[in-house]
């Protein structure tokens, strides 16, 4: 049973509470996140319900074992923060269409990420999904920039100028040596500027996002660079596309 069989917003909105309490699973979760893409009212309701749920946690507050604090602080001291690029291993491929309508529909299929908002969905083959990427897709100005290469490889970039953020998705770029990384270049009148570095996950998929201002960029391109990055591309561009 799914209430999504009825297309009107009232029914979809009815799921915000379940979503905020992490009670949606499987197809329902995917469909709800797809509905979030272009429904501001729904997103506001989710945000309010999440804040409400967070308040409930006051009722179950409990002192943790005292050693947890030292363990966490020790771990933090040796953990690098995810900035500016975050690699997110995806569990399953996605093909994005070339037009907004199709990739919005594909938002449900753009099953992303064991990242911060990663959510393991049981019962449909172990897919993973991310509200974070859904949130980017939900930006009114979000658009798809397909990157293609002469050898037929491709990658997709979802760009939101207002959020100054983009997500790279590809399952065709292949592995890179440990001392290398893929570099995404924003190419404008001033030449290429390094937008971010990324590596495929263990499954060969790329799902990476970076905060970047693309206002001067006309093209995006990907090269292989040393893992610390380069000032300029040092290898041929593998895939590229017009912003």
């Amino acid at each position: 049973m799914s209430l999504f069989d009825e297309p009107d917003d009232v029914d979809v909105t009815g799921w915000a509470g379940l979503y905020a309490l992490d009670a949606l699973e499987g197809d329902d979760l995917i469909r709800f996140e797809a509905a979030l893409v272009d429904n501001d009212e729904l997103r506001i309701e989710v945000a309010e319900f999440r804040a409400t749920a967070a308040e409930l946690s006051v009722a179950s507050a409990e002192e943790p074992p005292p050693h947890l604090r030292a363990n966490v602080l020790d771990a933090v001291a040796s953990t690098r923060q995810h900035s500016p690029v975050v690699d997110m291993a995806a569990r399953r491929g996605a093909r994005l269409g070339g037009v907004r309508s199709s990739w919005m529909a594909a938002a449900a299929a753009l099953i992303v990420v064991a990242g911060v908002f990663g959510y393991i969905v049981r019962g449909d083959g172990g897919t993973t999904t991310s509200s974070e990427v859904a949130a980017l897709l939900a930006q009114p100005d979000a658009r798809l920039v397909p990157l293609t290469g002469s050898d037929g490889r491709s990658a997709q970039v979802v760009v939101s100028p207002s959020k100054q953020r983009l997500v790279v998705v590809s399952d065709q770029l292949g592995a890179v040596p440990d001392d290398k990384a893929y570099a995404l270049w924003a190419i404008g009148d001033q030449g290429p500027v390094l937008a971010g570095l990324f590596r495929p996950g263990t499954d060969g998929r790329v799902e990476s996002q970076v905060d970047v201002d693309l206002s001067g960029a006309q093209q995006l391109g990907v090269t292989v660079e040393p893992k610390g990055g380069s000032d300029q591309p040092t290898t041929p561009i593998l895939v590229s596309g017009a912003v």
Partner: protein, 216 residues
């Protein structure tokens, strides 16, 4: 949420950069409950790699993080693991936090609840084989003897708000949030149709939201 600062621990941490020193100076120059030790302000500092800010943030949220994880996961050792993952995750992704994702504490508790639910749902198959761990009733959190008056007042406020729900609204919300049960599990546990559970959870949250005067 009360702000429990453990200033003594701050000095045990080495500072890394100007931001840390700046925060330390500001903290020393102002009363302990100054505005810039609010979770939202601390998260901004954490995003810049400020470990002292993280420590303060940890002390402010860990009771709620651990509590919600434990109410869902139950097993103390696993709860501890999940709580540690949550706090580490927070540290890692803080640079990507933005206010549109909600207040710092909301964001934190959202991550905590998700992680807890992920843990129990991925462990569900094995857990179901082990009847000792099957928990089918909402958690009634144990009173925390060490809790400050402020926390107790907050807790009272939440309990009062919950008490104003209809019994089935309250059960549905509690099974989903404190129990970490899915929509279909809540429906099965209460013997209600999915649509009814959906409505009760939504109505319950609306009432709680208004009663607790929550803003996103």
């Amino acid at each position: 949420m009360s702000r429990r600062l453990r200033m003594s621990h701050m000095d045990q941490l080495r500072s890394h950069d100007g931001d840390v020193l700046d925060l330390r100076q500001r903290l020393r120059g102002v009363p302990a409950l100054a505005a810039d030790t609010s979770p939202d302000a601390l998260l901004v500092a954490i995003a810049r790699g400020d470990r002292e800010a993280f420590t303060l943030f940890y002390d402010q949220v860990i009771g709620r993080v651990y509590g919600v994880v434990r109410s869902v996961v139950r097993d103390p050792a696993q709860s501890e693991e999940v709580a540690q993952d949550v706090m580490l995750e927070l540290w890692r992704v803080a640079p990507r936090y933005e206010p549109a994702m909600g207040k710092a504490t909301t964001w934190t508790l959202t991550i905590a609840h998700r992680r807890a639910v992920d843990r129990v749902r991925s462990a569900q198959a094995s857990r179901e084989r082990d009847t000792r761990h099957v928990e089918m009733s909402p958690v009634e959190p144990a009173p925390d003897a060490a809790a400050s008056v402020e926390i107790q007042l907050d807790r009272e406020r939440v309990h009062r708000a919950l008490a104003e729900l209809t019994p089935s609204q309250r059960e549905s919300v509690e099974l989903a949030y404190f129990g970490g049960h899915s929509h279909s599990e809540v429906a099965a546990l209460l013997g209600l149709p999915l649509g009814t559970v959906k409505t009760r959870i939504r109505d319950g949250l609306i009432r709680l939201r208004d009663r607790l005067e929550v803003t996103a």
